[in-house]
Symmetry: D2
Subunit: 390 residues, 4 copies
């Protein structure tokens, strides 16, 4: 990279949680700087956020439209390079589309939109404009998740038979959306969140993780969605039977009423010759369970000798020596770093390496929205199996 | 107890695995002695087994029928008190029924029979004869499983919402039934095993555990059974969505092709106020996850002070001080010990305590067979939900 | 074995804890029966214990002397074969010596005696009488401890450099010996316990485990013993630097005031090529950490393929398939079973296999007493290093 | 903070490992920018590093002296605010002293210097100049370490009795300093590293952690240092018995030949009422073991209700919600962030909060050097106990 990439933010003011996570992820590697933003619909919060973030006041904008338009008019050496969109779900589509149409690349929170239709329109926009859209499916940035994917791909486990992926949380065990929790309030509001709370907020992470690690696409589902908390307008728990291509089968569980759970993402994959297990709560261990062998714990950052050598996809996404735990923020930063390396390569007329290009993109976003819609459709059906909608 | 109980065995010769486990469990507490047996259909194996087990040769019988008839004619101070049946599934029903009709109590391996009809007939026999039938659902004997049940019952977690129970194994990842594995051979043979391999062999353990811990009964299921290993005659993997009474929901996964897994039984239960987790691989920890509190690890054998005092059901089933791990054999032995205490109490005209009576019985066996039949029926249906058959 | 071995007990009445553990361990495998005892100095307790244990009243004795003398006069087909001694430490020596001199084999709790001198006299008695003395260093019975020993012996880790062994407990964090805890009372009483509480009760376990796993003998020590609880007459915590033969070094920590710990025995061994870790709280995992390789978890009961095949010493001491946890009672039972197999082989004029002979014996007992005396001597010295006293 | 702090670096070029870690830690929170550096004694590496780090070429300096002198002459709005020193140990003292004397604050890697004398001179310089010196004892930045300290301080465990702290690594199991490992080469070189390899590189981390968490100072030690790898010029393993003030005792183990270990820092502290355990490999769990209570796992980022509320020192140092693991880089960044907040407060005439001031400083550096010298002195002595040298 010849210079730092310049980031503008839509959303992410002081009153938001996820904006701060994006900034940490963006800043960590010293390759991205924040130059402008429309941080909040509340102008005072937006301005105060800018001050706290050392963004000059003349580059705080009253709306994303204003930001995109004005930044587009700035000289090339000054204007932002890309937009990070961290607003509630219903406010992803328009700024993402507009930004790309004005020549900016985009990082957007998941789920990419609130409907499959919007998602497909973003895909068309990417294909038309040639811009890069990065979707922050956080868990796919972990080195040991990438190691898992690499080992599946190279046939370490033989043909894949069974996939169990789960994302239990407990933070919506109460009616928090009525108790002053702003994050709960918009997530539980169908107008701002979309058709499913649990699948939009966390189920798509699980579905993406399953497809990312195994390289297998979901083909049909059988879903059971529930609203456990009285007064809630959307589902807060879902269990889904999965049929993948190539005759693999699976189960996906996403829950926000699993009281006492934090963010216990976990995936297990079983093939003919062995299985793997990875969990967000212990992310630097990849447990490999081969038939007839002791269990192996592959751990982040080790310079194992052959035949145990870690994949280049794992090592490319590791910062520090083994035994020093890297966490979610580093996983998140891997997504930003790869996005930045890919965008810089494009700017410089180079082709990014496969490792650099390995971050979730608009096609993952479309599948995520299709997953949500398929699950909701299945839940409403008495038929056992519902085909994936795309 | 005024004297040791006298056990006769049907099956469990030197060529069988589970018979040895039953004997360890029966002998451990010094309350049961082995006095006779029909250990194998092969007379030589049966005789050699008797010698290895220090059973007198005049009490080795050529068949269970002979054993039951001849023992019934022995004087009371000499004849066996109960029969343990550890033959393949299809050979449970007849000896169990005949034994009870001749005045003997029975311990029988799960699944109780090969059909719901047989199971219901055993229930009728119990009710008619007044004998005691004990079913060895092993995992319900663990102290921390009993502690979990006690905490659910006393309302520690509030209303139960979600139950996830799983039993993954990997030992049938290959076509072992054709490779000289006798245990695999009969289990994978519909004539000797029943309608479902995975549900009969391990799924019923999971279903029993879920109902035992929560006290909630399964009401309808949506099942997806698969035969992954080519050439196998029965299913080797199953995932089941569950609807319990009182609006609880759940997922049950049982698998014998989860390559690399051993016997990874695990249950998680979530209520309005908190959740619990227990796993067979780490059976002396009961993880309690309450909203707004640090996670707690209740551990076997501790004399915690109030309000953490372990349930009398947990302490009654614990032999040694905390930190000294008790394992599956102790869990199994708890079932035998409680059976023995209950039977002895009956003999002595006393009523056994609730803790002593806490072992799986004929009603659990009937539910287990109904579970298998319901799952198989659901699997064959295109309807999403299938009602529990009883 | 042609018949069950007949056990007599000294101590182990209803008011004692460890006697029950010995009986479970002895009975579990159906190879030993309890035929007589002098269970308590209190005749009523002794008699009631006999009844609860189904021991005939005519074989309950008022003292170990009476028991040994009278049993010696019984005909061979009736009299006990061996004596288990589970009295407080100061009452080990005399019954052990007397029993051997009357032709009985012996199982005795650790520490073997209360002085090195007594221990050496027992050694002389063993050598003179040819009897077998088994010392119950519990932790050496675990399959994964035996696997560790086998791997060290075969050079898997190269030359051993460093050994860290620890046994923290918290149960003596208060002055329990004055609060009605009988087990604490005699252990904390120098007259009944010996020169060191913490080293006698648990430090010798740790020292034995270190020497057992590595095959290396301690040569000199530097000890720091402390009595943390006011009013206590003996030490309750000790940390010891160790020099082993062959230039290995180590640390041994034993503590009974590590509040909140249960029985957290743990050993780590490091060689030139890799290390191992084993812990009593998770006894079915042996963690192998080789340079340049993922960590491996060897687990009890697996039929791993070469080159991972478990040692015959591990498999000989395993009862059930992988994934079904075996615990302390099985480890204890392994000691009894191997003792029984060895004694039976002697009776039958056979030589027991190396696996059967693998249980702690009188020489381990002598080293244990020497360890205690060396540590106490070092603690009293201002010199950094104190040579092992034998 | 009114603006980002401006950082200059001494060392940390592309050929170094720890420089990159410092930059990630410094950049993560968006409060610090890198403005200049003397990144390497090799001018080409230094220049290339600057380009990769987007540092303007006119602020790349040929030596730390040049950097400090020239930066001191720049106008206040432009010149660096502080210097980060990440050179080998023997090159800490001079740049740190010179920087402070020229009005710059300092961040310096541990150990602070190569001798106690130098350390004390830095202390005097701090006291004379009023500058702030921050020492990067990484592990003290973890939220759960801070929680541990807070709980000890508030008396949760009663009087502290026993402290076990350990830092095993395996990366120097071979003679890597002769095999092209630059980091090993200077660390194992007495001229560049100091009197002890293992104590300087990692033992001081362990000693600092023990004193930080407990608030107790080491008063005397008994040390056993070893050089296990043939050809090595300094020790690579050390075990130390510790006497703390207030009659607490402890053990410190630091090892770089614990083959297969990564960076397994761990501390256990036991008081009259309970104990705690924390480990770098699982840093978001603080295990609390109270007498008579289930174990509690306090986890980073939870909004527990009273009486479990996490300390303000823990929450101040947490960035993301519970269940999303934070790792070593966040711990490191906490040190930088608190340093930045404290320095900014000074600039702005405010007093930083206790939470902000909570980072290791020059006094910790002096104690670290005294610890090393005391341990080396003890190792050379035949006396059991050696008093702490200050």
């Amino acid at each position: 990279m010849k210079r730092k990439l310049r980031m503008g933010m839509v959303g992410g003011g002081n009153d938001a949680f996820i904006g701060a996570v994006h900034r940490i992820a963006a800043f960590m590697d010293g390759k991205i700087e924040l130059v402008c933003g429309s941080f909040s619909v509340n102008p005072e919060i937006s301005l105060q956020s800018a001050r706290d973030l050392f963004v000059p006041e003349n580059r705080v904008y009253g709306s994303y439209q204003e930001m995109i338009e004005k930044e587009a008019q700035l000289p090339e050496g000054e204007r932002m390079d890309f937009v990070t969109i961290v607003t509630p779900n219903f406010l992803h589509f328009e700024p993402a589309k507009m930004a790309m149409e004005h020549g900016f690349d985009v990082v957007v929170e998941k789920p990419m939109t609130v409907s499959l239709e919007e998602a497909q329109e973003l895909q068309a926009t990417v294909e038309k404009t040639g811009r890069t859209l990065c979707l922050t499916h956080t868990y796919s940035g972990y080195p040991m998740v990438k190691q898992a994917k690499a080992m599946v791909k190279e046939g370490h486990f033989g043909k894949i038979r069974k996939i169990v992926v789960e994302y239990p949380q407990g933070w919506l065990s109460r009616l928090s959306e009525r108790e002053g929790n702003a994050g709960a309030a918009w997530r539980a509001d169908p107008k701002r969140s979309g058709k499913s709370l649990v699948m939009g907020d966390i189920g798509t992470h699980a579905a993406h993780l399953a497809e990312y690690v195994t390289g297998l696409k979901i083909q049909e589902v059988c879903a059971d969605l529930t609203t456990f908390v009285e007064g809630r307008l959307l589902d807060d728990d879902g269990s889904v039977l999965l049929h993948f291509e190539n005759n693999a089968k699976g189960v996906l569980m996403a829950s926000q009423i699993s009281a006492g759970e934090e963010n216990a993402v976990r995936i297990r994959v079983y093939g003919e010759k062995g299985g793997l297990e990875w969990a967000n709560e212990d992310p630097n261990n990849l447990i490999i369970k081969m038939l007839d062998q002791p269990r192996q714990y592959y751990r982040t950052g080790n310079a194992y000798a052959a035949p145990f050598t870690l994949s280049s996809f794992a090592t490319h996404n590791t910062r520090i020596p083994a035994g020093h735990p890297e966490g979610l923020l580093e996983s998140f930063a891997n997504i930003y770093r790869n996005f930045a390396l890919t965008v810089s390569a494009k700017m410089e007329g180079r082709t990014a390496s496969p490792e650099e290009q390995d971050f979730p993109n608009v096609y993952d976003g479309v599948r995520g929205m299709a997953f949500i819609e398929t699950v909701v459709k299945s839940n409403e059906s008495n038929e056992k199996w519902t085909k994936f909608v795309i």
